[in-house]
Each structure stands twice: as C-alpha cells, then as structure tokens.
C-alpha cells in the first residue's frame, strides 16, 4: 500500500487515488485532419518508463487532479504538484 500526497489534502493511502494519464500528453486538435497513426499513438502509446516518471493522478475523495513524480522501480514518490500550476 503506497502513500501518495495530494497537494490539497496531504498524504493518503493509494486506494483513494485514480491514475489518469502520463503527464505531458497533449490531445491532438481533432478539428484538423489527424492520421490514424497519430491518433492511435495518442490513444494507446504510453512511455511506460523505468525509473522516474511524471503522471497525472486524481485524488478521488477531493476530485482534484495533480502531477506526481515517482520512481516506477523503487515506488518512491518524488513530489506532487497541483495540475493547474504545472502548465503541462
């Protein structure tokens, strides 16, 4: 059971959180032509890195999204910030 720190509520058990996406993924402008490959990359391709990762999570009890840096090998949480101040 990991402990994540919601920037709004503080440290909580991981069961209160929901993974949303890898950080930095930008939705293509779907009013413009987009190739199948580009769309498929957006939908399905994840970086899935080993080591430090940046991810967007939701704290389901307060419903706020935030960015979390963590290490996918050691499971160490390296930091969390509110999404809206992150700019990504």
């Amino acid at each position: 059971m990991q402990v994540f720190t919601c920037p709004f509520c503080g440290p909580r058990n991981e069961t209160e959180f929901h993974f949303v996406a890898e950080a930095g993924k930008v939705r293509p402008d779907t009013t413009q032509p987009i190739s199948d490959a580009e769309w498929a990359t957006y939908l399905h391709t994840q970086r899935n890195e080993k080591g430090p990762v940046r991810e967007v999570w939701m704290h389901t009890t307060c419903a706020e999204l935030f960015v979390m840096q963590r290490d996918s090998v050691t499971m160490a949480v390296l930091g969390t910030q509110a999404l809206r101040k992150d700019g990504s």
Binding site: M1, Q2, V3, E14, H18, V20, A21, R27, P28, D29, T30, T31, I34, D36, W39, Y42, L43, V56, M58, T60, A63, E64, L65, T74, M75, A76, V77, L83, R84
Partner: protein
Amino acid sequence: MTGRRLASGGLIDRKAPLRLRFDGRPYGGFAGDTIASALLANGVRIVGRSFKYHRPRGVWGAWVDDPNAMMTVRLNGREMPNVPAATTPLEDGMDVRAVNAWPSAKYDVKGGLDLFHRWLGAGFYYKTFIWPDWHLFEPAIRKMAGLGHVSDAVYDDYVSDQVNAACDVLVIGGGPAGLIAARTAAERGEAVTLVDDHPDVGGSALQEVAIAGADPAKWVTAQKAAFVAAGGQVLVGTTAYGVYDHQLVGLIQQFGFGAAPRRWRMRARRIVLATGALDRPVTCANNDVPGVMSLQGAADFVTRYGVLVGQRMAVVANNAAAERAVAVLDGAGGRIRRVDPAKGAVTVHGRRGVAGISQKGTRRYADTVLMSGGLTPLVHLWRHAGGKLDWCPDRQAYLPGKSPVDMVAVGAANGTFDLEQALEEGQTAGAGRSVTRGPTDYHLTPLWPKPGSAGRQWIDFQHDVTLKDVEMAARENYVSVEHLKRYTTLGMAADQGKTANMAGLAAMASVQGVSIPEVGTTTFRPPFVPIPIEAFHGQHAKTQWAPVKRLPLEDLHRAADAALCEYGGWLRPGWYGQGDQTALIAQEAVMARTHVGVFDGSSLGKIAVMGPDAKAFLNFVYYNTITTLKPGHLRYGFMLTEGGVVYDDGVVACLSPESYIVSCSSSHTDGVLRHLEAWRQDGNDPDRIFVHDTTQAWATVTVTGPKAREVVAALGVACDLDKAAFAHMTLRETTWQGDALRIARVSFTGDVSFEISVTASKAAALWEAVIAAARDHGGGAIGLEAVSILRAEKGYIMVGKDTDGETMPHDLGFWAPRQKKTTAFVGDRSLRSENANRTSRKMLVGLRVQDGAAALATGAHVVLPGGEVSLGYVTFSYDSPTLGHPIALALVDNGANRHGEGVEAWHMGSRQSVTICAPCFYDAEGEKLHA
C-alpha cells in the same frame, strides 16, 4: 520412550498441567507448551504422514521452520485444519489429529504409497494422468494428496480485527539484537514497536550462558522493562508476515486457538530486521525418518519447554554455531555422539523412528539424529522490501546486501552470529545509523546435497521432494530455479520452503556444475507464515465491502411491500406486493401502459455543471451538440470514451446558459463525475467550469402513462401542463409547498412522462401525494422490473446491458453528430476510423419470434439459419405483457441493414427462428410519447 520432560528448566509452568488427545490417545502437557513440545515430552515420534508418499514424519524444528507437524485441532466445538503444531500454544482439552493420515499418523492406510516411490517422482501425476483427461483423475488425486480438511462449520464470530497503525521504528524480532535496537531507539524518544512471534521476547538469548555478564533471562527482563519505560510498545505472539510498498508491514497477532487473529497494517518510518536465522537440514539418505531433527531446534526444546527430544543423540553438524546448542543438550543430560559429516556420507537407519546412523560402513546406535547444516539468515522480509542479497562463501548463506529504503538488518538475520557483534549492531541500528558487518568467528565446512549419491534424500519435507526429483527436473531441462520450483513443487508448501529452498538451490547448482549464486534464488513472497484469509478482510466483507446506496424513500417502499433489489449499486424496488413475481411485474407494466405508473427515479445521476465555460465544456464531453440547447430544454445524448465507445447515456437539462444538469445512469454517477472532473481540469480552465454532484440532494418521482398529466395536475403545481405549453423534452422550474420543484417532461417508457424532482427532505410528501393522485386514476407504484420491460418495448437502451465494450453511437442509430458536428468532442476522431466505418459492426436491432413461440433466452446467439457463426447476441428478452408476445433486443452484425431478415437464435444447442426488426415495439411513430 525417546523424548522426555526434564525435571526443571524451560518457560513452562509445571504447576499448570494441561490435557490433550493426539490421534485419539490422551497425553499431558503444561502451560507454556506448544502442541509439538507436549507430544515430544510424551515420547511421541510420528506426528504425521508426508504429503505424497505418506512416509511417517516427526517434528523437525521447534518453531516456524517445522515442515512436518500439521494438525487438525478441535477445541470447544471448534475445528481448524492445518494447525502448525510447533508454533501453536497448547490449550487444555485440545483434540489433535495429524492432517495427512488416516486412521492415525502411526497406522496410515496409504502408507503403502511409499512402496511405489520409484514411480511418483516430480511431475508424476501430470505425466501419468494427462491421458485421456487429467480432470477425470483430479478429484481422486486431490482427495488423496491434500493436506487437511476444511470443516463445514461456519464460525460467525471468527472475524479479524483490522488495525491501522504507524510508528517511527518497527523492530521485528525480540532476540538480543532486536531488544537492544528497540531500547536504544525508544530511549532516543522515537515511537517504537517491537514485535516477536513467540509468547514473549528473548529469542536466542535463552541459549546463551550469559549476556553482557548477566544471566540471560534477567538481561532480557531488564531490556524489556527499560524499553517499555521509554514508551516502547511490545507485541508478542505477533508475526511480521510481509513488507509492502512505502514501509507498510503486515503483522498478524494471535489470540489463542479458535480466535480470529488481529491484522495490523503498520506503517513504519524505519524498520530494524532482527529475525534471526534457521538451522539447515543435512541432505543425506533417509534424512526424513522421525527422530531426525534440527540441532538448534532440539536446543530450543530444552530451553523453552524443558523437553529433551532424545536419549542417545547423534549430532551431524558442520558449523561453529553447533557448539552452543550441543552445550545446552549436554547440560540437559543428553548422551551425544558427534558425527563429522566431512569424513564421509552418512545414512540414517530406521523407518518409524531413528534406529541408528552409519558412516563409511560403520553403524552406530542412536534414537535421535540432530542436524545442523549451517545457519540461514531469515531474509524473507528483506526481500519483500526490495533489498538485495549477497552470497557469502564464508557462511555459505545469502546475507542482506544493498538495503531497501529505511530498513536495517541486525544480528543473525544479518549473518552476524556472534553475540557481542549482534548486540553492537542492534545498538547502532537502534540509533538510526547504518550497520557495517564485521569479521566473523563463525565458520563451517560446506555441506550440500551430492547428486548421484545413494538412498532417498529429502530436500522438501512438507512437499515430499527428494534430491532425485531435483536431478530429474534438471535432466528434463527445468534448470531455472523458478521452473524447478514449479515442476517439483519444491518450496511451495505451507512452510514456503524454509528448510528446503537452500538445499534445492544447492542441489541444482551441483547438478549443473555451477556455483550457488549462479543458480540464484526464487522470489520471496508474503506471507512468511500461513495466515487465514479471514484476517485479510475482517469486517470488510459482504455489504461492508460494497455498501449499497439507499433511497430517501426506502421506508415508504418497504411499507408498500416492495421487493428491494440491488440495481447498479442502489437498493431499489424491483416490484411491489406478495405473490407470483412475474405476474406482479406484468400487472405493473400493464397498469403503467393503460393508466399510470409511478416509480422512484431518485438514483438517477444529477450532476450540476455551471460556469461561463460550462456550455462549451458539455459540448466537448457529449457526442451530441449542446451549444444549441436553450434554457428550459432537455437533450438526450451520449458520453463517449476517447476510443469512441458509448460510456454513458443520459439527458442534459439547460437551466440557464451557464447552468446545466447532467442526468446520467444511476450506476454510472461516480464514474461520470470523475470523467467530467478529469476533462474539466485537464485541458480546460477549471476556474470557469464547476462540477457538483447533487444526486443525493434531490429525490425524483417519475409519473408515466396516459394519465400522467392528470396525476401531475392533481399536485397543484404552478405550471401549465398542456402539451402545447409543455412539450416533450422541456423542463419547468417551479415550487411546490414552498420548496423548489423541477418537472422534466422526458420519458424512459415511451409514454408521456414527467420526472418531478424535489429536495430529498420533501421526497416522502411528494411520493405520497403522487401515489394518492395515481390511485385516483387507476394507477400506482411500479418497480424497476416493470420499467425495464417498458423501456425495452420502446427500444430505449441501458448502457452496459444493450451495449458492450465496442458499441459506438451510430451502432445504436444515432448518426447525426458524427456526420454533422464540427466542433471537437471526446471520442470524435475514433468515430472516423476504419474500425468505426466497418459495415460488420454489431448494431442494435429488435428480434421477433414466430407466432406463439416462447421468449428468447437473454444471451442467446444470433446465427444464420443452420449457421454456426455468431452474428451477435440477445441483450434483453421478455414476454411483453403490453403487446402479448415476446420481444427482444440484440446486437447483430450489420443489424441496421438486415431488418426483415430471418435468422436463428441459438441457445444451449437449440435453435429458434426469429426475424430481425427495428429496435422498437411500441408506438414507433411517437404519438403516445408526444401526447
């Protein structure tokens, strides 16, 4: 008689005698005994039969390392299977039976299996019974091979406490090193918890002559007292069974036989591992004969229980730590013969008990053989936490290497077997400093299994794996340790190979001619000791695990004799009244069609979406165009996933240009809320959009049927209900009895319907008023079952029932936005993919049966006449009480273009002719809907 009770010594209370029965015979013990120590004190040798060959087995170890003594125990009318005799405190009146023996461990009718051992090697059952079908043989084999029987009785009070706790320092193991570590940390002012799985702390201290110049028992008492005085918490009878992410340690605390253990989820800032080490068996011929025991275990039986396990004891040891144990046994009056295993292979003699030991052709008498093949540090928890292991050639053992975060190993767990050094390590770790392992006086002569040597040599006692099985696995190329483990089941029994794994790895290394570290280890996984599944859920089960959501009107429904059922997490009325369920449901459906039906729609999601960007936001998250929706109007629509699949359907109400209500499916509200929040905060300005779930704040009473308008009019609301003034898919906000009231003209049945919403506190008053008015018009309450029929007659879908994980909106006949909507929306690009444009997509259709035929089975496959290939399946089927014939909805390949085609519904081998039709059986022109 072999084992006997000593006149003095041990931690038992000789003034407190206890009685037990073993395999039907009465014996005596004392308070402080385990089942195993009591049996040994009575001279009992055979305590069970081995798993596969039904060989007689005796006690091997004095604690968690014992693989053999597994019991079914009855006490006070309560029976528990697979009770480990070596770790279970004896209680008065215990009725103990060996698990794998019938009628008793001494006389086992399956003992004959041992004669066939040649044919029962690794993989025997799989290889032999694979033809014609393993499953034909499996029941008989399982019955013959399993350990223990689960009692049929259900113990309602067997419910585990669950405790969440935290501490600065968790010290695991209350031996000398652990005690010093705990005391040091506590005296520094840290919150420290010390756990030990024995009834009291002390660990290996009891076997020492003196500690820091003091009597060991007094030293232990003094350390514990100082620790407690410094604020420390001691948990005895408590095993740390697993270490999980972020320093979470699972503890299991025992409260005696038959009582559910308490489970602690202990979050520790740092962990000191002082778990000690176990003695290894020596792999030699017949090393499983009862009376072959762990040397350290035998010393433990003396110091803890005052039991000398044998009279004429041969000691086969290869290491320096043996001397301390031998001294203990010697002091207890045992006659000891040392056999140096370095001088040649040894063979144990005897069948039902040790009768001698021979080396180089010389046989000598012994009633007990005590083995010590070297100490193995208990590093299980270290590995759970992600710590690395280093192979130490001097100690011939894996030792803690690179440490996991905030965990330090000390004492024997760290390979530090010298007392002084262990105490020093404990002190260092307690002070929060890292531990550097010093040089050791401990030494040993490597002694590992020798492949090719004669006789049957046991590696895994509990799962009956021999050296020959390991050799066979290697011959058959199961050389990876993980394959070796699974093929031979080595280390996979309830003891998790505590005595077996090292011998197995060494044997495999030897067969392959490589070093032990080159073979590697298998994965250490929790739990360290067997734990009842019960302990993992405790009260968190059944309705406590998934609590239902409850309606404000539940009491009124109950009073009206509703059958309350769970629908998508909500407890809702299925139907009303006593009697034949099908008939009652049909009556309700007909009543709603001919007169008026009233149902509780309060569970329907009511998510408020507000703010200057609310309209653009909803236009983005909905498939349908929302920008054209005017205040006072409703629109039915779909939310899609980015993959274009229908995620939810519902109605959006526009209260004002900056205020909307999203009415989603009852079961989807939480998910839709998360979906909206995610898009709101990621890609939008969250200061210009607000999402708020008001589902529980409003109660909704839905009135449907030809008389619906009259019923609503009878409420006396200030609202023009005339169909010209109040059209289908519009909304009015008004008041009723001084409170806010919303009336939405929207239908889930195909008849004129009004959804009336008030604050939850007014729900009962509204319900009673509506029901009274409905009765005046020949109607009344209807349950969800009737509603489900009415909506299916009309072809209104239920997402997740009439759709699946591939259904896109155009598969349901909703083409327009996909073709016309120009602004971006969730899932849009996926609707323009090759996959979305396939004609062979499963589309929603209706199915008509032949005149007089019965209703189809839900889930029946749709196939071509005589065909074998599924074109889709029936999602809903019912014998419509309104129409007097069966109806069905189905998802069928290219179904929208096959209306009129004759196909078959295939179910469990039978076929029924059906005709594909439009998915609407009631009021296709919509005259009743708009009436």
